[in-house]
């Protein structure tokens, strides 16, 4: 049990590598950088594999190990009143949680991560900032493993933000390119919108249950499922979490950053923007499955958003010319499939698709990187062609990846995608059957654009300039080896989750769909709550379809894959001088709309970013902000200033009144009158003794004259 009980070492290995690279990497030799970074990830893969092996043999439902109290003192200082009226203390215990769900993610993240590290050694060999690249990659591995191993929402959020940061750093790896730094900003800012949702969702969960711990939240949610089912608070909490998932996993309406993220180096696109980070949203929803099943409204939103994203992104992918952009839209589309599966309650099917997708999409991205490497940096498929003889390993492995994603029987994508299609058809007695049609058309499109990529790149005649053609060469061993290993994964990964009907078809007996069986403890509530959920969802068509219709659907989806293949061959299989787009010929307006990605970026520029201006006035939300600011600055502040001016004016008037009327007329006026009246009296009272004497003399003389002489 040594590896399981010390599973916390796993994220710290790449963390140490990242610290070493980012602090001292500039001075280290390339071989040392390789040894440290690839070694750290390989070691964490080995450790993970042993720990998972120990976990599966331990018989534990889940293994939780609290390391330390991270947030909150535990001293009863941060007590909050919860939704139900009881109180709980805000405490976050940092720890690790290993259960089947995190096992799946741990395994493919470390495995694919290790292969992509090996690949990067070859791909980045001639790039500047070698140590920086590997430092960021290791930092990403640390964050992703923290996200997966976290035992509570807050820890998961740390990893969530960490992978967002690394995504930003790696998209902007070529930061001297304006488009790369803009794309990095776009990814970071769009993800911020989602992150706000994660915080709100996590805090709402704390408000509901008084804890952030996954195990306790799940247990409480299952215990109180009857009272909590369908309540607004559950819907709000899960919707907020789903907003976060939309941001990280590139769903409508927050998917816009992912295609632009292709500005980063190709291994980054493979690791972060295809295989691992973008599945974090799926992981979070699957992790919170006990909550989501209690919110049927949210589940409907998840399923519909997933299906719409799938077909929306796939239709854009039909006409893109940049090889990486096709794969980027394909990733968005496949993530839509996963959310469709989660939304209809088929959590295991969604997780299974994440698992298989990690292999074939990482393979396709690494293959495209190998193609770009061979073409000397050219990414436009219109200037490729006829590469299959020159780079045979890349061609063969990419072909396997394409067959897998298109859903050709026998490869990984077939098993997982078919499971989702079947669930979409049958779940809740066909309540979501409309979404099956969407998913089916998406499957057709997927096959078409993937084979379009293959035919444009590897078939037909060469359309590049002669000197480029002359320099085309197969990639070094460090790049082709991961391709081969991933191709093996893309073939074999699906056999972990063979559905019972397929098993019956080919005559396998015994245990089928080991993958779903393995995950069952995580999703065990789903079955019973799904029946509650089913009763809340109006069933359109309650008739139960048996296995025959499942085989029919399977045949249909294989036929769709074949049809996509065939039509792509017809359109692009033999174009040697120029590429003729059949969609552009048939419907130019549709083609233009698709090529411009439905003008969503332009719409967002108008509606949110404020980048589109009319006469220097910004539009949309930013424009509304500008208008509000103007309103504040001019009307509100004007009112404030006006009040101030009025007060001041009244003050001046009243001070004048006080000074001149009250003091001047009323107070000083009588004084002046008294002064004026006293003036003659003062003249008499001169203070001169002789004057008094004179007056007395005249007075006596006057009196004498009056009394004596008259």
């Amino acid at each position: 049990m040594f590896f399981l009980t010390n599973i916390w070492v796993v994220p710290l290995l790449p963390a140490a590598g990242a610290a070493l690279m980012l602090l001292f990497g500039r001075r280290l030799a390339k071989s040392l950088v390789n040894a440290c970074c690839v070694g750290a990830v390989a070691l964490s893969f080995a450790w993970t594999a042993l720990a998972v092996w120990q976990f599966t043999h331990s018989g534990l439902p889940c293994y939780e190990h609290v390391l330390f109290t991270w947030l909150g003192s535990g001293g009863g200082k941060m007590i909050y009143v919860l939704h139900g009226g009881e109180t709980a203390e805000f405490v976050v215990n940092a720890g690790v949680l290993v259960d089947p769900l995190s096992c799946v993610w741990l395994l493919f993240v470390t495995f694919v991560g290790m292969l992509i590290h090996v690949y990067s050694v070859g791909y980045m060999a001639h790039e500047g900032g070698y140590y920086r690249f590997f430092g960021y990659l290791n930092l990403f591995m640390f964050s992703m493993l923290t996200l997966i191993l976290a035992n509570n929402y807050m820890m998961m959020f740390v990893g969530w933000e960490g992978v967002g940061l690394c995504s930003y750093l790696l998209i902007g790896f070529y930061f001297h390119k304006h488009s790369a730094s803009t794309a990095a900003n776009k990814a970071f800012i769009v993800n911020r919108v989602g992150d706000a949702g994660v915080i709100l969702g996590s805090l709402t969960i704390f408000w509901l249950f008084g804890t952030f711990d996954f195990v306790r939240v799940t247990a409480l949610a299952r215990a109180q499922s009857a009272t909590l089912f369908g309540t607004e608070i559950m819907t709000a909490a899960t919707l907020a979490l789903f907003v976060g998932a939309c941001g990280k996993s590139a769903q409508i309406p927050l998917y816009v950053w992912l295609p632009d993220a292709m500005e980063g180096p190709t291994p980054v696109s493979a690791l972060i923007h295809a295989a691992t980070m973008v599945t974090a949203g799926v992981y979070m929803v699957a992790r919170s499955n006990a909550l989501f099943v209690l919110a049927p409204e949210t589940m409907k939103v998840v399923a519909i958003v997933g299906a719409l994203t799938a077909i929306f992104a796939a239709s854009i992918g039909l006409v893109q010319n940049d090889i990486k952009r096709v794969l980027a839209y394909s990733t968005v589309s496949q993530l839509g499939y996963m959310f469709l599966a989660l939304g209809i309650g088929a959590f295991a099917a969604g997780v299974f698709h994440v698992f298989t997708h990690a292999f074939f999409k990482a393979l396709l991205f690494l293959g495209s990187g190998s193609v770009i490497h061979a073409m000397g940096g050219q990414q436009d498929m219109r200037f490729m062609g006829a590469l299959r003889k020159k780079i045979p390993t890349t061609y063969l492995t990419m072909l396997i990846g394409t067959l897998a994603i298109a859903g050709i029987p026998g490869l990984a994508g077939f098993f997982s995608k078919d499971e989702i299609l079947w669930q979409a058809w049958s779940a809740h007695h066909g309540a979501f059957r409309a979404l099956w049609y969407v998913a089916f058309v998406t499957a057709l499109m997927t096959s078409f654009y993937m084979f379009r990529l293959i035919f444009l790149t590897f078939f037909g005649g060469p359309r590049m300039s002669p000197e480029v053609e002359h320099h085309v060469h197969e990639s070094p061993r460090s790049m082709t080896l991961p391709l081969v290993v991933l191709a093996a994964g893309a073939v074999l990964a699906g056999y972990l989750g063979v559905s019972p009907s397929i098993a019956r078809l080919v005559g396998i007996h015994g245990e089928t769909n080991r993958f779903e069986h393995f995950l069952a403890p995580v999703f065990e509530n789903s079955a019973e709550n799904a029946s509650i959920a089913a009763s809340a969802i109006p069933a359109q068509d309650k008739q139960d379809d048996g296995p025959p219709s499942e085989y029919l659907l399977m045949a249909l989806s294989v036929a769709a894959a074949g049809a996509g293949w065939w039509s792509a061959w017809r359109a692009y299989g033999k174009c040697s001088d120029g590429v003729r787009e059949p969609i552009a010929v048939a419907a130019p307006a549709v083609y233009r709309t698709l090529l411009n990605k439905y003008y969503v970026d332009e719409f967002y520029d108008k509606a949110f970013t404020g980048r589109s201006q009319v006469d220097g006035v910004r539009l949309g939300a930013i424009g509304a902000g500008d208008a509000l600011w103007k309103f504040d600055a001019e009307v509100i502040d004007g009112g404030v200033n006006g009040t101030g001016w009025l007060t001041r004016t009244f003050g001046i008037v009243s001070s004048w009144w006080d000074k001149w009327v009250i003091d001047g007329v009323c107070v000083n006026g009588p004084a002046v009158v008294a002064q004026l009246l006293s003036r003659p009296v003062r003249l008499v009272q001169a203070g001169l003794l002789q004057w008094y004497a004179l007056v007395m003399v005249f007075g006596v003389a006057g009196l004498l004259w009056y009394y004596v002489l008259r």
Partner: protein, 101 residues
Amino acid sequence: MLEIGIMHYLVVGGLLFLIGMVGVITRRNVVIIFMSIELMLSSVNLNLVAFSRLYGLHGQMFSLFIAADAAAEAAVGLGILIAFFRNRATVNMDEVDLLKW
């Protein structure tokens, strides 16, 4: 030879009184005003002595009292005058207008 009668005394007394009065009113020097006041007192004494020839010795008695009173008054007045001079360095009456306060 004209006999000196009461009328002569009274005229001399009146003249003396007038001279004293004019002196009190017109002179600036306090010492001279004092002297003028003494002159007025003397005229009164002269009148009292003149009348005492007609109506008995009461007049002479009064004049003796007045002489004593004048001496006391002169002593007090000169004392005030010296104190005042020490304060204001003057004995001019027109500069002494403190009585208006």
